[in-house]
């Protein structure tokens, strides 16, 4: 009997009570699943905490669902809309393109462009054959004729390539010339590499086109008995301007295109100008045909735009400055931004559903292992009711979605200070590319993954999940410890997500007197960052619960908020590095990387941000002198001694995993105080020192006082205030001893003060003190 596996996703991550949500489910080994709506309360099964807690919710969708195996098209490509079959050329033809292959020696055929049916062997194509050579082929069903270049293509080198076919004589010709300049390719002029190949042969027959074959760039049509049509022969690399002609172009005409001259209009069927349609605010998925038939092409699985083109010369660093130098569209055979599964069930949520973190729990068979799935989503009230909101870091969840640190990341074991602890689902996503990757992964061709989406199963945005690299609950399951604390303390709260803040700005935050965010609020769009700043400056009271806060800059399209773009650049800590000239987000045109690069350090917003990380072992905080200031002692009221949080589900302490520190030079407000601070972290904690551009001995925990979590407090204008914990482990300390501990005490002191209308206790005390001093004078 086949192993039962169930995976699913919802079309929305944030909904309101009464809204409709769709569930997409795929199952192996079973045709039914038991579904039940649940409210999630605690997600960490650690035996020192309360364990996993869910509340079953009555719902019309509860019961047995019919489920089936669903297939996912991986790989990025362009599909040309050609209803009149202008590209079904049965006679003479020229195909041409600028290309920059990243994996020519992958060992299987890659189609660059063509109208090719890989199952029935009909049509024509220009591609790279299994030996890494440029190849042109035509097929008539029974037979295929091939013409290959004399030498393999070099990886990461720009070429202009073409294939011409004279149907009258049967002569096929390949044209391959390097267009390498000082900047655009891996190698320079000093490398004695031969890029050129010109070969010719007479084919035995002409191509025959099937009526429904699509013209594709970076792939070709295929067919499978169970899944039907799909795209295979996926290409890894960049393609710049490309075209199709209905006559064999002469050598000198091809030389002229290679030299940058406009392609001839005579015989032109399509000419995709990959630099057209750019705007100052970003680039879409449509690739414009400037030829006579307007056969625009559309990207599938989001081919990467805004990449350097064949004529990039190093002077300009963004498509906004020189769009004509940014014609590169990058394709990856394992790109995946939407599973595109059929809808399994649509559900209108009850109007009375309280705000919270929910999941559709699905169980197949005995409901154990991969037979159990939680499709997580967040529910806001129709009208905000609570004075408190818990803000879930859905942008960060997206950035880390389905990361494969433990099995694929060379750097992860040294960074984590421990070997990984892998579970069944980690192995499942390592074996199966259909889950897609996150922005901490690289594509199989070596390039970093810059797009991530929640329209596919996100196996690590699930309760109970522990990140393999660090053997901890990470992001969402860790954040449930904060939600469980709010529940235990009896606070009336709503939930919010990053998506709400991105789409609605400060309006999403404004109704709440106090907002707590997550254990790891790392990724923010510009709009999200602005909303936070305006909320606090406008009198909002904000508790930054985690660390590595407000570090990274990401972008979303308004009409597709489920897809995040991230370009890793700047600073010296990143999972991968955007290539030179490719630092800007295609989604918005803004530079990617970390907010430090924009003079918007996290310290400017919440008083502290990233000091470093080390995992494996956490420390307690020690109270600092500011905690004894009579004006601030309300924060630590009820806490005895100097030590806070020498316990926790996050490696035994409240300060650790990733930690943030106060820094006036990076914009910590001058009135900020340090209530408590950690230190003495092990040497696998390494400082992320933005000032120290040089790495040197002494950057590690026992040598460097920078490596500490600071609990920071400051008052903002209009009775606003910020309390920042500076530690991912802080929230994971709350559940210890039935939520009765000094971390919990401290947080409740802050929340109670923050939700109370009127001046903050510190202001009131200071004002009182000032009036006494005035009288004394």
């Amino acid at each position: 009997m086949a192993q039962i596996k169930i995976f699913g996703y919802a079309d929305k991550i944030s909904v309101k009570a009464g809204d409709t949500i769709q569930f997409h489910v795929s199952a192996d080994g079973t045709s039914t699943a038991e579904a039940h709506l649940v409210r999630l309360i605690h997600g960490d099964e650690h035996p020192h905490g309360p364990g996993f807690i869910e509340e079953e919710i009555d719902c019309v969708a509860n019961g047995t669902w019919r489920v089936e195996k669903q297939f996912t098209q991986v790989g990025a490509f362009l599909e040309v809309a050609d209803p009149d079959r202008k590209l079904a050329l049965d006679g003479s033809i020229t195909l041409c393109a600028f290309i920059w292959p990243t994996w020519p020696d992958v060992g299987h055929r890659q189609c660059l462009l063509g109208r090719w049916d890989n199952d029935k062997n009909h049509g024509y194509g220009l591609g790279i054959n299994p030996s890494g050579r440029l190849e042109f082929w035509v097929g008539c069903g029974n037979e295929i004729d091939y013409l290959q270049a004399e030498l393999p293509l070099q990886k990461q080198a720009w070429y202009f390539v073409a294939a011409t076919f004279d149907a009258r004589t049967g002569r096929a010709t390949l044209y391959q010339e390097g267009v390498v300049n000082r900047y655009n390719s891996l190698l320079g002029k000093v490398a004695p590499v031969d890029y050129r190949s010109h070969v010719s042969e007479v084919f035995r027959f002409r191509q025959h086109n099937l009526p429904d074959t699509p013209f594709l760039v970076a792939g070709s049509r295929d067919w499978h008995a169970l899944r039907g049509h799909f795209v295979s022969q996926l290409y890894c690399g960049k393609i710049d301007r490309c075209g199709v002609f209905d006559r064999p172009l002469r050598r000198e005409e091809l030389d002229a295109i290679r030299a940058g001259e406009p392609p001839p209009s005579f015989g032109m069927v399509a000419c995709w100008d990959t630099t057209k349609g750019y705007t100052d605010r970003g680039i879409g998925d449509l690739v414009v045909d400037i030829g006579p038939n307007r056969l625009d092409a559309n990207g599938y699985n989001r081919p990467v735009r805004a990449q350097t083109g064949y004529n990039w010369n190093g002077r300009n660093d963004c498509f906004r400055l020189a769009p004509h130098e940014y014609g590169g569209i990058e394709f990856h055979a394992d790109a995946m931004i939407d599973s595109n599964w059929k809808v399994t069930r649509t559900l209108q949520l009850p109007e009375t559903l309280r705000s919270g973190a929910y999941a559709m729990r699905l169980r197949g068979g005995d409901g154990t292992g991969l037979g159990e799935e939680y499709v997580v989503f967040f529910v806001r009230p129709r009208v905000p009711t609570g004075r408190i909101a818990l803000l879930f870091s859905t942008a960060t969840y997206l950035a880390y979605a389905n990361e494969r640190f433990a099995t694929d990341g060379h750097i992860v074991q040294p960074m984590a200070g421990q070997p990984p602890t892998i579970c069944e689902v980690d192995i499942e996503i390592y074996e199966n590319p259909e889950f897609g990757a996150g922005c901490y992964d690289s594509h199989a061709d070596g390039a970093g993954v810059c797009y991530s989406s929640y329209r596919r199963p996100m196996v690590n945005m699930r309760p109970k999940y522990r990140i393999a690299a660090f053997d901890l609950p990470w992001n969402f399951p860790a954040d449930l410890s904060i939600l469980a604390w709010l529940e235990h303390m009896g606070y009336d709260y709503d939930v919010l997500t990053d998506e709400d803040v991105h789409l609605e700005g400060v309006a999403a935050m404004a109704p709440y007197a106090c907002i707590l965010n997550s254990t790891h609020p790392e990724y923010h769009s510009e709009r999200m960052l602005d909303a936070h700043e305006d909320y606090i400056a406008g009198g909002g009271r904000f508790i930054c619960m985690g660390a590595n806060s407000f570090c990274c800059n990401v972008a979303f399209r308004d009409d597709e908020p489920w897809i995040l773009e991230c370009r890793k650049t700047g600073g010296h800590w990143k999972a991968w590095a955007a290539r030179p000239g490719e630092y800007h987000l295609a989604t918005t045109g803004q530079m990617g990387g970390i907010w430090t690069g924009f003079q918007r350090w996290g310290q400017k917003l919440v008083g502290n941000t990233f000091a470093g990380e080390g995992f494996a072992h956490s420390q307690p905080y020690r109270r600092m002198p500011d905690s004894y200031d009579p004006a601030l002692s309300w924060i630590t009221e009820g806490i005895e001694g100097d030590i806070i949080g020498d316990f926790g589900l996050g490696n035994g302490g409240a300060a650790g995993i990733e930690i943030d520190c106060y820094r006036l030079g990076f914009g910590t407000p001058p009135n900020a105080k340090i209530i408590a601070s950690s230190g003495g972290h092990p040497d696998n904690y390494i400082a992320h020192d933005e000032e120290g551009a040089y790495s040197h001995q002494g950057f590690s925990g026992t040598h460097n006082y920078i490596l500490r979590a600071d609990m920071v407090y400051f008052e903002a204008p209009n009775n606003g205030a910020v309390f920042a914990t500076g530690s991912i482990a802080f929230g994971m300390a709350l559940p210890i001893n039935g939520f009765e501990n000094n971390v919990s005490q401290l947080l409740s002191n802050v929340v109670n003060a923050f939700v109370r209308p009127g001046p903050l206790p510190s202001s009131a005390i200071r004002e009182g003190k000032e009036s006494v001093e005035h009288l004394a004078i």
Binding site: H410, Q413, P419, C423, N432, D471, H617, N651, P682
Partner: protein, 121 residues
């Protein structure tokens, strides 16, 4: 010196890497003592002595297909030591049948595999 025939692959960096690795392993073998192994058994995570730390840093830097990991058989109850494949799509494989009753015991079992590899190859 390594003979010229040592490696004919295009990437000459491999030769330098292997020579460095040979020298590093020669030194690391000299610091494996019962005391270091006992120190790890007592506390597999956190701050360690310089000797143990050197060994652990080396083990964590091995090529992916030479690294070990734990596999959770039962959360917080049963663990196994596996070896990573280093090849996307190929799952890790168990190194033996031993089931450990805690993560710390399993981490130490994994450490002993690393020590054995260091001393025996």
């Amino acid at each position: 010196m390594l003979p010229l025939e040592y490696d004919r692959s295009q990437d000459r960096d491999i030769i330098v890497r292997d020579r460095f690795d040979t020298l590093r392993r020669e030194f690391l073998r000299t610091i494996v003592t019962p005391e270091v192994i006992e120190e790890h058994r007592r506390s597999p995570l956190g701050q360690h002595s310089e000797r143990l730390e050197r060994l652990l840093i080396y083990f964590r830097q091995r090529p992916l297909d030479e690294r070990y990991a734990l596999r959770t058989v039962e959360p917080f109850g049963k663990y196994q030591v596996v070896r990573l494949s280093g090849h996307r799509g190929t799952p890790p494989r168990a190194v033996d049948e031993t089931i450990y009753a805690s993560a710390n015991e399993a981490l130490h079992g994994l450490f002993l595999h690393c020590i054995r590899d260091l001393l025996e190859t």
